[in-house]
Symmetry: C2
Subunit: 231 residues, 2 copies
């Protein structure tokens, strides 16, 4: 690992509070690796050998059952993934693949668990991270159970708009992935965009113009207890 990378990692929320010794112990066995687009990093059911941290790029977490699959979330820098499996020394509940070329930091699971017992600051950071992931998943579940697919799309677009702070928002990945994330088929996503046209949603490939924001907001009924602030 290059010094610049190491310094960046050192200042991540998750590791910033650690003692120097604990940090060194954790990182003498860590890998920093580049992956091209479309690589599967981990698979559902595999034992959790490494804690992964996305430093650059985009990673999709997805799950499979009976031939179907669905995206659970998409991670952007800087986020860890599947901390819970690492901490519980269990198997992964989700698979991960890169959506674009990415740099991933990999820390041996065993090392995480042992250092966490020694370093209280790391333990506290883990608690914060876990609690955040947990809450986001609850919001995700509420989104799925309480809203129709078109309502989910409308709220997704509004969140995107809030982050990007422009009149024209750009989808961060292809519509296929977006459909899966929102829990619908690509065909249905197309039609949902059509349904939102009267609310000022104009689609141009990945660029979406939101004229008439207020009307869209009226339709979407955004709720801070469902719509995740991050991502």
């Amino acid at each position: 690992m290059r010094p610049a990378d190491k310094s960046a990692v050192r200042h991540l929320d998750l590791f910033a509070g650690m003692s120097e010794e604990a940090f060194e112990a954790l990182f003498e066995t860590a890998y920093l690796q580049r992956f091209p687009q479309g690589v599967q990093l981990i698979g559902e059911g595999d034992p959790a050998d490494f804690l992964h941290v996305v430093l650059d790029g985009q990673v999709e977490l997805f799950a499979t059952w009976n031939g179907r699959d669905t995206a659970i979330t998409v991670l952007r820098p800087v986020s860890t993934f599947i901390l819970a499996a690492v901490l519980r020394d269990a198997v992964y509940l989700m698979s991960a693949r890169t959506l674009e070329a990415s740099r991933i930091l990999m820390i041996p699971a065993e090392k995480i668990r042992s250092v966490m017992l020694e370093d209280a600051a790391l333990a506290q950071a883990m608690i914060r991270e876990l609690a955040t992931c947990y809450r986001q998943t609850v919001m995700n579940l509420k989104n799925q159970k309480l809203r129709t697919s078109t309502e989910r799309l409308a709220n997704y677009l509004l969140r995107l708009h809030q982050q990007q702070q422009q009149e024209s928002v750009t989808l961060p990945f292809d519509k296929r992935t977006l459909a899966s994330l929102l829990g619908m088929t690509p065909e249905n996503l197309s039609r949902a965009f059509g349904t939102l046209k009267p609310y000022g949603v104009e689609v141009n490939g990945r660029d979406i113009h939101l004229t008439r924001l207020d009307e869209l907001e009226g339709f979407a009924k955004a709720d801070p207890l469902i719509d995740v602030p991050t991502n």
Copy 2:
């Protein structure tokens, strides 16, 4: 709090490893309270003032949006609820109500946060608890996104059977609540039971006979990465 109760609480996974002083500090301000059936304990959006622990009875966590509501999970003794909100000093994402008369232990959130900083064993127990809740919610989400309602019902019945270890299983709450938990309407639940009749599911009020277990299993396609072991 009576001595017997205090001893029971002392031996919960969450508190068993704590030092005597830390435990005392935590409990000098805790309440143990009885609630009748049908009482709303906390509401979505309220600030998290107390960590709640179900010692007896049954508590439903549910969420609301735009006039609709849905059950997220049902807690049985002994479980905490909404630890994440307490730890993050945030608002609750879910509401809670008793499904039957219940005894609930309430610990001031501020106390939890401060003691957790001092007592490493408590911090570690929190990490385990949070990781478990997080993983259960991910499974819940996969269940919703990857399965039809009838598939969810079939798998639910098989899990009940596994826990109760009898030919005839008993639903732990009314069908209305079950329908909400499984993400469907009561009417639809009725029909789903009908659909499962050819697979040996015979309904008699809350008692369900599962003749032809193998056929039901063939339909359900249970998966340890979706079907939560507990509850």
